[in-house]
Symmetry: C4
Subunit: 278 residues, 4 copies
């Protein structure tokens, strides 16, 4: 969909997932590391199931939006002269399709079909790879700025595909999970950036598609998006850190029960010991 | 062989291997994971020996087909003006040759020459690499569509070479084995696609070799082929899952022997316990 | 800053870090390997904290130098015709920004926020990657020599980014640390080389920007820079080796205390045994 | 050295090392695996020392040959017009230099300076990388065939650099050692091929530098070179296998001493048991 909402929609999907992961992975990491009693393996498995379902729903919404763009009937072949029709829509359809398949693998992993661990990561990696593969040949015959702004996206897309492929072999590696989160956030914000640059809403002046300065700015802008993604993740990490710390304190107070008098001192000591452990 | 059967033949070889692996690897994985008594290491070693032999035979068939194409005598140098002859046939010959060598390494691994484990994977990886290497320089001076449809194949070929190279170090990694299977299936179906696009059998209209829309469709089509490969693998996984599950039930019934009366309940319980284990 | 000091400044930063690491990593490696009592984990953690602070300061210096170049006020958008301004300065600003962020992560790792181990390496790797990313699009519309001398730098930059990314998963791998050190030194010396080639100080004749021989020489020159980096590292390794060896001897003499008479023979024996251990 | 011997000399160096490794690594692998008493760690460490010395000597020979080509005095800068001189010779000098440095690291690893294990592999990997780096920019302004035949070499060179870099982390991985050996052999034979194609000795007709068929043949020819390298390695593996097997038999006969009568049966049984072990 060569339009503002056609880029804003996938951008929002990626942004939602990125922001959600920027809460989930720090929570998972910190509750395990700070040995709180609120970490449970089953809880995170259920979260992954829900994530898979949301992925499937987002993909369906994306596919239906593509269809709606064409009046709920999207032909592939023009009956008259046997030429291809709506190829760009079918490209977007394909991208959504692979994310949908990835969501379905997430769901299947939860159910007792003994799907090998790691297949969910592989399918997500493939979805990102095919997104990049299609985008790589997507921008033929367009203006220089259009080509460039899409090719910059490929850095995030193929970087994401590679990172998730590594996760097949290094599951639960917290640095890779954080890295994937940052790449997902920037993909989301960058889709919005593309929407604003290529299809500026009425009222905003259009970008000069041929000006080389615009291309230079786009390069810098991509880096700033990433810096913003990092800052967002730092904020969310700090909030989760405070939440987990407070919760642990609260829990330890509950535990001590009647030994109320000396509890405060103990809890503080435990806290201090905890924060000094490597 | 710039002809329909010249692409259909290798396509069928890859497809046969891909489909066979889509049965073999789930079977191997599930019989080990579900702790059936039908898993035996020796059985799979013998299968690999047979696979090696089949690879050698397929390579010989391919080489002979190339020769037959030239009346059982394929000259390399033209005696008159010292120019090269039949270079395309010799290219195909070379591709088959490396798959043949890979098959021979598979066979040698079985026999007691103490060939290092992993050498069979390395030789298969090299065969895929040289296939890609030759294809990369294969399409010089051809139409845009011809070049493009072959270069898309390279994604599957080099992806396969990389995956199999990883298997040298991570043998028996089930996710890599599944991934290799999917890349082999798509290589097979894509060879058939090339045959239909470039050398349409009589009765089917020819493709416009210059139309950019055809190139865009080819990109999407490759993704759909992969989606089909994934669906084929899911079906075959499900069938194997049912087969292994039923077999285990049957086996456990056999074991209990005269304790027939309470066997059903036990078997069901064992089944449930099995399907709940991580 | 398209000027001599604009390249000499970052060059000095990289060189300082490279030379410092060429002392620090051999010291760390040898004091651990030779089982001296002067190795302490805490000491090296504090060193990393100081390194992080120095990185932040260097980045601030770099950013302020860019500002000073523009009279302490660097506009991004020209108010009159809405065109971009000072894009090259903003590019350099962005590069410094990411190194500053990397320094901040180093500092945070030290404090008790339980930042995951490896995140400091990832952020440094990202800083190098974005440096390369910006440089890759930096040299558009410049002379051939200018483009080439910057693209040669990318080999060191992306090589460094890759090496540091590996360190996320293989922390404390001494070979990787040495390799990173050599790539940092060559980045430093190469920035100085760029400064001398593109902005020769007054008195030195200018380079012919179009002569292909200059480009050929630049390739060789880069290799020689690397050879010099290796020689520098060997010298510093040898010095540290002698220092650690002498210190161990001295320490063992201190330990024996009153058993002065037979201490020399023992210390020598211990030393010999130490140097013979694999 | 744009001449026949200038390519034949490095080709012979690589070929010698490749063939030697094709004996050494199977011997090392089989004597360890077949539990003969002729495997000793020290023996292979000394071999590596000698290899390092030979590398240094080969590099010196190469450097001196470059000098001799210019009458024992190779200027870099032309005093008259400050232009670069003999850049191609200096490029070859640089390649030899890095192999010489790699040899020196091998030698240093043996002596008790506690040089980190893996640094010898890294330095060899860097030598290959810089060889490829220089070759990549070596062939500017030459005929198409010249460029192509050198760029094909880069596949072996960068493949080798990558393989040896992997060996830094997976030392003594026998499959990687065999792979490196094959890449070294093909590099050697390919240098000879370049010598024959570009500088045919008198009596052999010259190659047409522009004919595209020649380029196509070169691609196939490279694959055949690799197939020959594999066959050479198989022969040498088989010979070593027979040698180690016979030696083990002989040794076991020596051991049994006076129990001569029943020794033959035992030795055979031990042999059979040995060849059946996984």
């Amino acid at each position: 969909m060569g339009s503002f909402p056609g880029h804003a929609l996938p951008g929002s999907f990626f942004l939602l997932f990125g922001l959600w992961w920027s809460v989930k992975y720090p929570l998972k990491y910190l509750s395990r590391r700070m040995k709180t009693n609120c970490y449970s393996r089953l809880f995170y498995q259920r979260l992954e199931l829900i994530e898979g379902l949301v992925k499937v729903i987002f993909s369906l919404v994306g596919i239906l939006a593509e269809q709606f763009d064409n009046g709920f009937h999207m032909p592939l072949i023009n009956g008259e002269d046997h030429s291809w029709m709506k190829l760009k829509n079918w490209q977007h359809f394909t991208v959504y399709l692979f994310y949908g398949l990835s969501g379905m693998v997430d769901v299947l992993t939860y159910f007792p079909f003994k799907v090998p661990v790691g297949l969910d990561r592989l399918s997500l990696s493939l979805a990102e790879f095919f997104e990049g593969f299609i985008f790589y040949f997507h921008v033929h015959n367009r203006s220089e700025l259009d080509q460039y702004i899409h090719s910059v996206l490929l850095v995030a897309v193929f970087g994401g595909a590679f990172t998730i492929f590594l996760e097949v072999f290094m599951r639960e590696q917290v640095v890779l999970e954080f890295f994937r989160t940052s790449l997902t956030i920037i993909q989301g914000t960058w889709f919005w950036q593309i929407a604003f640059v290529l299809y500026p809403p009425s009222g905003i002046p259009e970008w000069n598609q041929q000006d080389h300065n615009n291309i230079m700015f786009i390069t810098i802008c991509f880096c700033w998006h990433y810096a913003i993604a990092l800052i967002l993740m730092s904020i969310s990490y700090s909030l989760v850190y405070c939440f987990v710390k407070r919760r642990r304190w609260y829990n330890s107070e509950m535990d001590v029960g009647i030994q109320k008098l000396n509890s405060d001192k103990d809890a503080k000591a435990a806290l201090l010991a905890g924060s000094e452990e490597e």
